[in-house]
């Protein structure tokens, strides 16, 4: 179904969209163009069984600027899991119907911007808690039309947006996690930690494969990124900063660096989390949060991670 989507003004984005379009329209040499934003969306605490209209909740939607002087038809789909090569730590979204695009095709007038909303609905069930999924949205501009009789090669442009969904963590789910690998819980919260105090945490690694696997365990801190060097990497949690890479072993100690898990079974892993003395009065750290990730990487197949979050708030 093709239709032109009604424009919906978003005051906070107007200036950006203007600049975005101005930038792309300045390249008059280009005969074909495709673009879409945001480059990254990472959602946390999606609750299985709930339906989310992300635009209604947050105001965010996919923007597709048409920077050339002709009408453009865009087709969108969520790539099926077998086509997705996810970032380490994530599983491909197992069912594309859990992430619905509205519309999934649209015509955008020259120098206008198309807008696509998306809806998320992970099925109810404890097996879908503690999950981390990668969603790959494929957008292609259907511009090429056969112009000549005879054999021709026509080039069309497409892109993939990689978005992330983490479902709500829970330490005691009634069912083992879905997917070939699982961790329970997927997040720990350490509220108002004291300087130097150790907190022992335990999470379980589930091997839902038909083969035994050995999992490597390590503390992972993504390399720093700024606004000019954005890469596809494990996204941080809103409100939290990553613990310093060079001091990560002071903050998080894992009881072992490998764990073997039999097929269809699970094993416990212990972690000692310490909030080191940061050399400033504790009171000055209020309303700050820090996080680290324990990466669980098998000898073959998909990986997972466990977030460990420290935060200091008013008592």
């Amino acid at each position: 179904m093709q239709k032109t989507q009604t424009k919906k003004p978003i005051p906070s984005l107007k200036a950006f969209i203007f600049v975005f379009l101005f930038l792309f329209s300045s390249g008059s040499w280009a005969k074909e163009f495709i673009g879409a934003e945001p480059a990254i969306i990472a959602l946390q605490d999606i609750f299985p069984g709930e339906k989310y209209d992300i635009y209604e909740l947050t105001g965010y939607q996919i923007l597709i600027p048409n920077a050339i002087g002709s009408r453009s038809l865009y087709l969108l789909n969520v790539n099926p899991p077998e086509q997705v090569r996810p970032l380490k730590g994530y599983l491909p979204l197992p069912d594309t119907s859990w992430f619905r695009l509205e519309p999934d095709s649209l015509v955008v007038e020259p120098y206008d911007t198309g807008r696509v909303r998306f809806h998320i609905a992970v099925p109810a069930g404890d097996e879908y808690r503690n999950q981390a999924y990668q969603v790959e949205i494929h957008i292609v501009r259907r511009a090429y039309e056969k112009e000549k009789v005879g054999t021709t090669v026509g080039i069309v442009l497409g892109l993939n947006l990689e978005y992330f969904i983490e479902t709500s963590p829970y330490p005691e789910p009634k069912a083992k996690p879905a997917g070939i690998i699982g961790v329970v819980p997927s997040q720990f919260f350490i509220r108002n930690p004291s300087f130097g105090k150790d907190t022992t945490l335990q999470f379980r690694v589930y091997n839902n494969d038909t083969l035994e696997h050995e999992y490597s365990l390590s503390v992972y801190i993504p390399p720093p990124q700024d606004t000019l060097s954005i890469r596809l990497d494990l996204p941080g949690s809103p409100g939290y900063e990553w613990i310093p890479e060079e001091k990560k072993t002071e903050w998080v100690k894992i009881s072992k660096d490998k764990v073997k898990v039999k097929a269809g079974s699970s094993e416990l892993v212990s972690v000692v989390a310490r909030f080191p003395d940061l050399g400033v009065p504790w009171e000055s750290l209020k309303n700050r949060g820090w996080e680290a990730v324990v990466a669980v990487v098998p000898d073959a197949g998909f990986s997972r991670f466990v977030r460990i979050k420290y935060f200091i708030v008013e008592q």
Binding site: F22, E32, Q44, T152, G154, I155, P185, F189, G239
Partner: protein, 213 residues
């Protein structure tokens, strides 16, 4: 002038990178038991975008498409127009889905028997620096593209770039190196054994971009 506009726009876009939470106090998150909590969202308001200067290669120009011909395409310039590094990957297919031609994924150029049979063809991209010389057939390795995300094959991957499983890495605009956000692409086509100029056939090459990892 265009570059100045680009730099200004990139600076403004960098301000537009947002991290936003649906919950006004994101540090308060805890296990929410059987009750849905507020979702948290992190967004990078930058775009994945690129362009190409031409989208057509007419293979019937000149002598026409002879059986097992190996023409090399004119130069295409591919430019990263977004504010983030991107990975490019390629896939090829027929426009109609009912074509008499089927893609042949590999060819060994020194061995005639590996060339496409009557109902098959071969297509392979080559990536190099913007302004580089046109490659010869020896520059192509014969791997080709498949219908599932295979990177272009080339021993010279242009400025600061490399061939990886995730594709050809193309940086965003680099101040002081105005061509670094561009690459040139050439295509090698190997015609089927029976091809003639009479065959009316369209082959689609899709170039895909994604945020570089």
């Amino acid at each position: 002038m265009g570059r100045i506009i680009k730099i200004a726009a990139l600076m403004i876009m960098s301000v537009a990178c947002l991290v936003w939470a649906a919950d006004s106090s994101p540090l308060a998150n805890q296990y929410s038991g059987d009750t849905p909590g507020k979702i948290r969202i992190m967004v990078r308001m930058k775009g994945v975008a690129f362009s190409i200067d031409n989208t057509l290669w007419d293979l019937t120009v000149g002598e026409g498409l002879m059986p097992n011909a190996t023409p090399i395409s004119p130069r295409y310039t591919v430019q990263n127009d977004g504010g983030v590094n991107i990975d490019l990957s390629f896939r090829v297919g027929d426009s109609t889905g009912v074509s008499p031609w089927v893609f042949k994924p590999t060819v060994s150029f020194a061995v005639d028997s590996t060339y496409p049979a009557t109902d098959r063809y071969f297509l392979e991209p080559y990536i190099d620096n913007a302004g580089a010389t046109t490659p010869t057939i020896a520059s192509f390795t014969g791997t080709g593209v498949t219908d599932v995300f295979t990177e272009a094959t080339s021993s010279n991957w242009a400025h600061n770039r490399s061939a990886r499983a995730s594709g050809v890495d193309l940086p965003a605009y680099v101040p002081g190196n105005p061509n670094w956000d561009q690459v040139n692409m050439f295509l090698l086509f190997v015609a089927p054994a029976s091809s003639t100029t009479d065959i009316d056939h369209t082959i689609i090459l899709e170039i895909q971009a994604k945020l570089a990892d």
